[in-house]
Amino acid sequence: MSSRDRILGQIRQNKPEEVALPPVTTFASHFENTEDKFREMLSLIYTEVIVVKNAEELALKAEELYKGVVNRATTIPALSAWADFSLNVSDPHELETVEIAIVQAEFGVAENGAVWISDQYLPHRVLPFITQNLAFVIPRNALVNNMHEAYVRLQDTLGWGCFIAGPSKTADIEQSLVIGAHGARSMVIFLLEGE
């Protein structure tokens, strides 16, 4: 008998009597203002939130924030003139030298400051991790209150996706918080006003 069948057989023999799923597994969060909560949570995890009216203002802000930085990459067409690093590479290892990536993402979660990004928005999964600094652009109206709403919104996860909340961090040395463990050392979130 294969290990698979042995394991499943033993589970069948030993599992407890059937119970039903609990009736309630989602909860509503009532924040006075969803965007304020989102900002508040992100300020606690060292992330700046900047509202921009349109693509032009986004480009200006990007220029201002990352002045003098080389190896700038983006997935946003309106920033193509700003970028000097092409994401059109076949091997993700080539992204090693990216200093800043400004990336379109789908939506944000107010209760924890997380932003959902997935294959749909990325030419390479490793980009938001390998870049030294990271910025997301999400529509200003694309904010949900909590994780229950988030899962209603994303329905399916395609091939791969990730909730990212702030820059990479660790506290493994005497519980001292250090920003920039393996992933991005800094994070900015642009909220783009509706078009």
């Binding site: 394991i7 599992k15 597994t25 991790f129």
Partner: protein, 458 residues
Amino acid sequence: MSKTVMEHADASEVFNRDEPYVNWHDETLWFVRQKRDKSSKQLPEWEELREAASGIKHYVLSHLDELLISFEQKAKENGVQVHWAANAAEHNEIVLGLLKQHKIDKMVKSKSMLTEECHMNEFLQKNGIEVIDTDLGERIVQLRNEPPSHIVLPAIHLKKKDIGDLFHEHLGTDAGATDPQYLTEAARQHLRDKFLTRRAALTGVNFAVAETGGFVVSTNEGNADMGAHLADIHIACMGFEKIIPKQEHLGVFLRLLARSATGQPITTYSSHFKKPREGQEMHIVIVDNGRSTQLGRKDFRNSLKCIRCGACMNTCPVYRRSGGHSYHNAVAGPIGSILAPNLDMTKNADLPFASTLCGSCSNVCPVKIDIHDQLYKWRQVLAKEGHVPKSKEIGIRAMSTVLAAPRFYQWSGRLGRTVMRAMPFMVNNGLNPWYKQRDMPEPPKESFRDWYVRNRKN
């Protein structure tokens, strides 16, 4: 492990020799517990969330076979290869086989308590495979040749000076440097080179979703993603209890996990893997290793609900004052003490006694495992099956004789008080474990009963 293992009480005694150090360890973990309290109180629905999580996990235990089959089928449809391992040895062989098949002899690994449980690193190293742990805390303990002392905070037992010295020796940092920022940067550079050059990455699994065949891996550092997205082959290893029915249930568990673990509202990265990227191979190893036996133990099966947040360790007065290594098991603390006897009763018979049964662990558990009840029940099982040391057995028997005979109890109480006053050295000596690290109070002149009998008349 061929080394002779010290029992929890003996190892704790060694741990307690340095009082300022123990106090520091105690306070550091209590601080994490307080962060958990603060964070959980932000959510008015916290208790309902715990109830929901426990209920979902209960459903999981009663439908495990169906959920695993559904998960396997969906994962295969997603292009993921699924392997089943009945025990640690099979798990290790599967991983080794995959690496050999790809002629890979170097691998990066993010945190996986399962691979600790299976002693995979040792096995692979013996077979010529270099494994680099990439979580900072895990890399630190790996360089020290010791296991993690905590499932979430692997190097919590170390002071920054220890880490400074270690990095000076292995990573060439300045002698005497102890700044966490500086040391973390050195590790970042050291590990980035590994991420960029390794063709295989192994990760753990926090949650596997039966409905989609996908799985979620949570980290703060980003190491699981750095490894998995750069490697040609991603191997994800999971104990079969990691399964949850639906994707929407992740809402419940991700809200509880980080808040319970460190007080964060969510970990920095909650990565949802479903299909391999183009040209990549993705494998999932589903492991039993005693879990199906535990499932059959009515009193102990709830331990399989555990989501490995570590909250029970941070709150445990015994863990905080004895350190994770005293538990000589991959998972330490209260939860480890109810999982370990299932794996080996003889070797782990001491662990259910490493508790005051205060119940704090059960109070903070996000999936409401009755941890302290199970610790108590394991004691009965272990005693009945003859795994309790003779000294403890004799003590307990003497105690039950005394407590069962009221007159004898009164007499021995009086005797004890007299002896303590007249000849304190009779009790205050090295033979009495109650005198370790503590002083006894002054013995009272009379017992409450004597006082009551004397005063009732008034």
